[in-house]
């Protein structure tokens, strides 16, 4: 049976998880972190924060309608409700 197209490649969850991990490392989780690595992590964290915030403010929820054709294939159409 055919499946619907892939979902959009967003993973806010994964992004947040990585952020939390970075914060924990900087807060003392990573004992062997030298200043250079700490700075790199910090920069990655700042970049991810910015990206997450941008996504939240720019995104708009999509509303679609699920349809199945005669062969049972799923199709997503714009929903005009």
């Amino acid at each position: 049976m055919a499946r619907a197209p892939e979902p959009p490649p967003l993973s806010f969850t994964r992004q947040l998880e990585r952020l939390e991990e970075i914060v924990r490392l900087l807060e003392g989780g990573g004992q062997n972190l030298d200043l250079d690595d700490a700075l790199k992590l910090f920069e990655e964290g700042v970049e991810r924060l910015r990206a997450a915030r941008d996504r939240l403010t720019a995104a708009e929820a999509q509303v679609k309608q699920v349809l199945a054709d005669q062969t049972g294939r799923l199709k997503l159409d714009d929903f005009d409700g």
């Binding site: 499946r3 969850t13 910090f42 409700g81």
Partner: protein, 393 residues
């Protein structure tokens, strides 16, 4: 029962009626003699035919009457009655000519049990679901924090869908709302809902399903009390939020869902985080990130200071050693002092100007000079020829 039928003529064999004539006449008499009425009794010998019609007897201690309830009437009921059940039926007494049988054509049926037939059917389905473990609270899954895809199984033109769309788009824009339209009430609606739930099962990357409808009468909600619908909800591979029943009227669909919401709007709220809250959480993370780095670099400064301390310590110890060495040297210098030599019996001759006189030539006749010995000075004078003498110094 045409006008040709003559009761008096039938009093003799010559005027005998046919069976058909008699039963037709009996039917006419019975139907004319009774208006439709309520009858109460116990169900016995219940049988549902392929055609959908129900056949059973209603009886009490002294008598019984055959009953039929046609499919067009019984399909409004949630479930057939069980044998032995005390019921009220509303129907029309008649005679079934083919069998010469006195019977009741039932158009409505109520159970005398608490809640009636609806409640009984509900309890029966609920017991079946419980037996399969589908009502176990441990089955309930928690909802994903940041859903990417939410499927909504509901009527496409109801207020429920409008509310869900409005709340979801306002709260959580990082999501796709997939509407799977279905009828939610009326005959055959349960089949449509099951099909819609089947579609949801095939959606890739789905995080959560909302199944719902706006308020309705108890009969309107009945679709969601079908065991079939409840099992289809339980079979979904992702968490389900049910927004079907009322505060007072829980449906089976609500019972098998992972989360029950009071309204479709509440279901959408349960399914999504609030964008504003997440932005605040991001700010907190940002603050922790900055603090983390500051602490981290503070710690580096600290260890640098410790290293510096150790270094200065070493230097001081080294200086101390040097000081000792100096003292030793001073001792050795002292040993070499001329005064120490004098102690051993030597004398030092110096002229009046304090110049040391080391050679014979420095001692002319009559020179006054001074002799330094270990404990003082002695005045002296040259009064004879000096001996020896070498090249001028």
């Amino acid at each position: 029962m045409g006008p040709s039928l003559d009761l008096f003529a039938a009093l003799s064999p010559e005027g005998a009626w046919t069976v058909g004539q008699l039963t037709r006449r009996a039917r006419a008499v019975v139907e004319a003699g009774f208006a439709p009425l309520w009858v109460r009794g116990e169900v016995s010998g219940f049988k549902a035919w392929q055609s959908g019609h129900w056949y059973f007897a209603l009886r009490d201690r002294t008598a019984q009457i055959r009953c039929v309830m046609f499919q067009k009437d019984n399909r409004r009921l949630p479930a057939p009655p069980d044998d032995g059940m005390q019921v009220f039926v509303f129907g029309r007494p008649t005679v079934w000519e083919e069998k010469g049988e006195f019977r009741l054509t039932v158009v409505d049926l109520l159970s005398t049990a608490a809640g009636g037939l609806w409640q009984l059917a509900f309890e029966k389905a609920k017991a079946a679901l419980a037996k399969d473990g589908l009502l176990d609270p441990a089955r309930r899954r928690s909802l994903p924090a940041y859903p990417r895809r939410i499927a909504v199984v509901t009527s496409p033109d109801g207020a429920a869908l409008r509310d869900i769309i409005a709340v979801t788009t306002r709260r959580w824009p990082l999501t796709e709302l997939l509407v799977i339209p279905t009828r939610v009430q009326g005959e055959g609606a349960e089949g449509e809902i099951c099909a819609a739930l089947g579609l949801a099962c095939r959606l890739e990357g789905l995080d959560v399903v909302i199944i719902g409808r706006g308020g309705g009468s108890r009969e309107d909600l009945w679709t969601f009390n079908h065991e079939r619908v409840a099992r289809a909800v339980a079979a979904l591979p992702v968490p389900v939020i049910s927004a079907v029943g009322h505060e007072t009227d829980v449906t089976l669909c609500d019972l098998v869902a992972d989360v029950r919401a009071a309204t479709p709007s509440a279901a959408a709220e349960a399914a999504t985080p609030d964008r504003a809250d997440v932005l605040v959480a991001l700010d907190h993370l940002g603050a922790r990130l900055a603090r983390g780095l500051a602490t981290r670099s503070g710690r580096v400064t600290e260890s640098f200071n410790r290293m510096l301390d150790r270094l200065t310590g070493t230097l001081e110890r080294r200086l101390e050693r040097h000081r000792h060495e100096l003292a030793g040297l001073a001792g050795r210098l002292d040993a070499l002092s001329p005064l120490k030599v004098l102690e051993r019996g030597y004398a030092l001759a110096r002229d009046e100007q304090g110049r040391v006189l080391k050679r014979v030539v420095q001692f002319p006749q009559g020179l006054s000079f001074r002799l330094r010995v270990t404990d003082g000075e002695v005045a002296a004078r040259v009064d004879g020829r000096a001996e020896g003498g070498g090249p001028k110094s």
